[in-house]
Amino acid sequence: MLESGPKKQIPAVSVRSLNCPNCGATVTLRSFGQAINVVCSGCHSILDAQNPQVQVLQQFKVKMKWDPLIPLGSRGKLRGTMWEVIGFQRREIEVDDVTYGWGEYLLFNPYQGFRYLTEYDGHWNYVSPLRSLPEARSTGLNTVRYLNETYKRFQTANAKTAYVIGEFPWQVRFGETYQVTDYVCPPRVLSSEGSEKEVTWSLGEYMSGKDIWKAFSLPGAPPPAVGVYENQPSPLGDTPKKIWRYWFFLFLAALVLQVYNSVTSPEQAVFTHSYTFDTQATGEPSFVTEEFYLKSPDSPVKVETQADLNNNWIYLNYALINVDTGQAWDFSREVSYYSGYDDGAWSEGDRNDSVTLPAVPSGRYYLRVEPEGDKNTGAINYSVKLTRGVPTPIWFVIACGLLLVPAIMLSWRSISFEHRRWEESDSGQPGVASVLSSLVHQSSGDKNDS
């Protein structure tokens, strides 16, 4: 059985320093015994930190000195843990003869180990080593899955160390090259870094320069972020997705309202009359009806015309006129009906016609009617019926249309942001299809989160 022994009190592990065997400068070791290599900041000698007295492993001349934006020895709290910057590398890739470089900061905490910060054109990532392997997908090499999220391959390149300073828990060399592949699922990026012996995976989370500056209490302002970075979250977030959801709910609400209106609105016949129009009669065919009253509230008025037609037509010029204000609604209807028997019975037109005038205010009204017809037709019997309170779908259509405007605008902005992201990828053309599919992936990833 287990016995707990006396609590040994070993003194605190102390910070060590050494003198550079090449130039004699003092080199501080901030990671206690963890460093394998340390680079003298005076003469750029790479030293064996485990056995410093004898070994200069490599010395490099640099055309350009890259001072880290966060000085070595700075401490800052990220994700609730205090980290100290102990090493810095500038790494470069070449694409079409153009060199792109980024900074990699090695962070250390004696209990939690190592993390990284990377910086490219003002875009920052907080990077942790991965503990489990990402799942390679059967769909090919262009996506991997990790923790139920799909990452799309963005770029593969050979990253070369172009400048190095500080200490590292591995062998670091100037000019050393590793193949790096990035897979993105904003705001995260999965990176694999490979050699023959070992492939390591890490997970980066996008951070703003402002948050880095705050965490490390750095003076001044961080360098501005240029362009759209591979795993930079869209400034719109999931607003486009949300707004479509809102649009759908508002659409449903409008639809319910519309259906409710049409079911419950009190339809009321306010005027019905039958007339006969003799096309052969001389004299003024137009006439006015008796007055009728349209009650509050403002609502549409349906005008129905029914004519006893047989292979003929009637044309009716209507005006609905307010007795008190003189305001008039002019409209005309053609009603026609033809039928016959050629290779079977046929018919064309309709003896019934209906039209709705939207939102007619309440008041006293009369109808002015002016019929027209073919001289040879003779007498046509027709009737006119006015119904108050007929629901019209016009407001429903307008509402849905207006609601579409912000949804479409936001989606367009979101698509153009994704387009700018994927323009930098080596995964081929950032076609609309790939941009759209990345939007879909993003939303499916969100779904998995919840």
Partner: protein, 211 residues
Amino acid sequence: MTERTSNCPNCGAPVAFRWSSSVQTVCEYCKSILVRTDVDLKKVGQVADLPPDASPIQITTEGKYGDRAFVVVGRIIYEYEQGNWNEWHIVFNDGKDGWLSDAQDEYVISFQQDIGNLPPPDKAPVGTQFEWKKIRFAVTSRTNAHYAGVEGELPFEYWDKEDVIFIDLRSEQGDFATLDYSEPEKPALYIGKAVDFDDLRLTNVRKFEGW
């Protein structure tokens, strides 16, 4: 139960065993490597100075793995071309033992498995897949390492080995496995999980200057 104590055959200092199944221990005073025999302790070697060490763990550190409490009773320090790592021998309240490895503050708790038919080292290049305990593992690294020091109690004799091949494997669910070829004909398999430093809830850890 009382702590089982004997005396160091080299310097006479009292030697206590915290775990009844320990086979080997190191005298805290004269650093003699002592192996238990039926009757007493036998000195089989001497530990040289331990390499500089920055692990926050030490012998007597206590912690939790899930809800199981453990105490650190011994360790092996391995050295390889990229540095060194610690295999801390941990013993649980129920008397079972396991290993807490600390490689640059990446922590894994693992247990030796009783699984036969393990592959020889040349049959397990990086990327090869194996399935043990219904977990699919892929080889992620191969390391040649050698003993660089021992401390405290171990479940076996270990003090003068040559370079040993270690093959590390991982699953897609955060499982770790190590094939240990200390005995090339009879590899040992350890399976475990990566653990967060904070989740280990360690007490009696070392202090670091300035932290």
